[in-house]
């Protein structure tokens, strides 16, 4: 069933409006010709505002969500997810790992996207990103070899387009890079009598290792209007529907051109193309620094969370429940909150590292209600008991939730 009738087509008025605005160097969303839209990169669970209770859950379970990123470029939203598995290598490259990129144009992004077989633009997007990442050797393949000729790591990047606000190639590229930068593969050792036995270590036993990424190839898309005279960067989906042609240049911050894609469309003068390439390398440096900052921030947050596994630091977090206990005014509650505070006072002499982490934590409960999107969170630990006489109060349930398994018994003695 053809979904062509569902593809958004601009009206004559819209087309004229966009084109005449561009003649006067104005874009419909107020940007300048060579400005990118706002870029937000988030990792892990894909939530930008992570409520503090979720963080506590994370501490109790090992951090397995590496390699998952969600990128929002203006209205376009793409999610990237990296996984790896051990496979035999290709015959002609016995000591190199493989990298495969799968793009999913999810029907949720656009009513014109059909589930099932990928359309033309999906395949084009996949190829452009593939060329930029794999063929430019951005990710080191030889370090993915475990036993030459027998076992190598095959890295798979899944890109899900969640919202089509235009310029999917750039957003998907950034999502792939962000996910690859935070991905950690399990460490494995080769042993056994014949040196062929491979043991893959669990994340708990040995820290997983990041991929070796030599450079970050950034895709920058240009849209041409008015017979190739007007150029804009990062078109929205309305501009894409009206444009005459497009070109995507994948460059890295060193100024190397990794890939160029100009598939049909209006003819553009070569001087304009050269100018676009120069603009692309400037933009690439900018986006690279944004990606690196986001990845580093995520890495430090993860490192801080690891520190919090210490028992002393765990009970400090009970400061936070006070904020969420607002709606339950019960006497039982009052007495328990007193108990938790006294626990905290006993261990108030802690290394400064932990206290700093706690401040970081305390800031979080304040922002649960204030997000740009309408977001509501469960105000308590959502403790439920079918026996109504013994409804569990939030601090106790949260304390249970935050305790790591091996520390639980010790704390119970103190409390009761």
């Amino acid at each position: 069933m053809a979904m062509e009738h569902l593809r958004w087509r601009p009206t004559v008025n819209e087309r004229d409006f966009i084109e005449s605005a561009l003649q006067s160097d104005l874009r419909v969303d107020g940007r300048r010709s060579f400005d990118f839209r706002r870029l937000d990169i988030s990792f892990g669970r894909g939530c930008v505002f992570v409520e503090w209770v979720v963080i506590i859950d994370v501490v109790a379970v090992s951090f397995r969500e590496d390699g998952s990123s969600e990128v929002q470029l203006g209205e376009t939203r793409v999610m990237g997810y990296v996984t790896a598995q051990l496979v035999p290598p290709y015959r002609d490259r016995p000591n190199e790992g493989t990298l495969a990129i799968f793009t999913e144009f999810s029907p949720m992004a656009d009513p014109a996207f059909e589930p099932g077989r990928p359309g033309e633009s999906a395949i084009e997007l996949g190829r452009v990103i593939d060329r930029g990442l794999r063929e430019s050797r951005a990710v080191d393949m030889e370090s993915l070899c475990v036993v030459a000729g027998k076992y190598v790591w095959s890295v798979r990047v899944d890109l899900h387009i969640l919202d089509n606000g235009g310029n999917l190639i750039d957003a998907a590229n950034i999502a792939a890079l962000a996910a690859l930068s935070t991905f950690r593969r399990p460490e494995c050792t080769v042993g056994g009598e014949d040196g062929q036995q491979v043991t893959v270590h669990d994340a708990e036993v040995r820290d997983p290792i990041p991929l070796t990424i030599h450079h970050l190839p950034i895709a920058v898309t240009f849209a041409y209007f008015g017979e190739g005279n007007i150029v804009v960067v990062d078109p929205t989906y309305k501009e894409e529907a009206v444009m005459g042609g497009r070109m995507t240049a994948t460059v890295n911050s060193n100024g190397d051109v990794c890939a160029i894609q100009k598939a049909g469309g209006e003819g553009v003068m070569s001087s304009v193309i050269m100018q676009c390439l120069r603009i692309a390398s400037v933009k690439a440096a900018d986006v690279t620094s944004k990606i690196r900052t986001a990845v580093e921030k995520y890495a430090t947050e993860k490192a801080l969370k690891k520190v919090k596994r210490l028992p002393a630091s765990m009970s400090q977090k009970t400061n936070a429940p006070d904020v969420t206990m607002v709606d339950k005014g019960d006497d039982k509650l009052g007495s328990q909150s007193v108990e938790t505070l006294s626990d905290v006072q006993q261990i108030s002499k802690d290394p400064s590292v932990v206290i700093e982490a706690n401040d970081h934590e305390d800031a979080k409960p304040m922002i649960t209600e204030s997000s740009t999107e309408v977001k509501t969170t469960s105000s308590s630990g959502a403790a439920v008991e079918s026996d109504e006489a013994q409804e569990i109060r939030s601090p106790k349930s949260l304390k249970d939730a935050i305790k790591p398994k091996h520390k639980r018994k010790k704390r119970k003695d103190n409390r009761s």
């Binding site: 069933m1 569902l6 669970r45 894909g46 939530c47 409520e51 209770v53 979720v54 859950d57 994370v58 109790a60 379970v61 969500e65 998952s68 969600e70 209205e75 939203r77 999610m79 997810y81 996984t83 999913e104 999810s106 029907p107 949720m108 992004a109 656009d110 009513p111 589930p115 798979r156 899944d158 899900h160 969640l162 919202d163 089509n164 606000g165 989906y237 997000s371 999107e373 309408v374 977001k375 509501t376 969170t377 469960s378 630990g381 959502a382 403790a383 439920v384 008991e385 079918s386 109504e388 569990i392 349930s397 249970d400 939730a401 935050i402 305790k403 790591p404 398994k405 639980r408």
Partner: protein
């Protein structure tokens, strides 16, 4: 209280903290992101579109569900989720209001940490365009016979003898406007819309799961009601 030793330290009847975000997507007509603990699912709704597919009854609205896993190809498991969800929704929604239309629902698993097949489907849908009419819960039966609510992936794969995903109708009929004081013994519509079980469990265990699930579902439905009311009051 007997310590059942859940990996994340929860009590057997404790749900993971949940949160939702309404309308995070721009192109979709309605969307929501629902997270319960580490499980996060994003749902988008488009429609109603004119026309029904072949084989669907044109006198009623038809619902089309697409389920997208985080990685890997679409296989039988995904098709099963799609089919179950479609049937559940057909029973919840009033289909005669928009005959000969197709509403399509797309779900994307952002993170899977257990109980992914249901809460996360039902809950965001309530928040997108359908009125909240059902709540989903998953319960598991452990080796020692204890029943736990809201199973995580580790629990589902390792510790549980069997588990069940249950969908109940919502307990309160009104969503917007009336602020009834919550009474302890509210009339609860006791029924079961969907039930999918894995593994072997005794009848008693199953009914036990249902009882607990019903109690827990009232919490979730209260949360959803608050969310919808907040949104309605902001819109007003």
């Amino acid at each position: 209280m007997v310590e059942t030793g859940r990996a994340d330290g929860r009590n057997p009847n404790q749900l993971r903290p949940f949160s939702c975000t309404r309308n995070p997507l721009n192109r979709a007509h309605g969307s929501a992101r629902w997270s319960q603990g580490d499980t996060v699912v994003l749902a988008a709704v488009y429609g109603p579109k004119p026309g029904t597919r072949k084989g669907e009854n044109p006198e009623k609205a038809s619902i089309e569900v697409v389920w997208k896993p985080k990685t890997g190809q679409i296989g039988r498991q995904e098709k099963e989720y799609e089919m179950t969800l479609k049937r559940t929704l057909q029973n919840i929604c009033l289909l005669t209001v928009h005959p000969n239309t197709t509403t399509s629902i797309v779900l994307q698993v952002v993170n899977d940490d257990g109980s992914v097949s249901f809460h996360h489907i039902i809950a965001p849908l309530q928040l997108t365009s359908f009125v909240s009419a059902a709540v989903a819960i998953s319960c598991g039966v452990m080796e020692n016979g204890a029943v736990i609510l809201d199973t995580s992936k580790a629990e589902e794969q390792q510790q549980l003898k069997s588990f069940a995903h249950l969908v109940f109708p919502n307990s309160c009929k009104s969503v917007v406007g009336l602020k009834e004081p919550k009474q302890k013994d509210e009339q609860v519509e006791r029924g079961l819309i969907t039930s999918i079980t894995h593994g072997v469990m005794s009848e008693d265990d199953y009914f036990n799961c249902i009882e607990r699930g019903l109690a827990a579902s009232s919490r979730i439905s209260e949360f959803m009601r608050n969310t919808m009311q907040k949104d309605a009051s902001e819109a007003a």
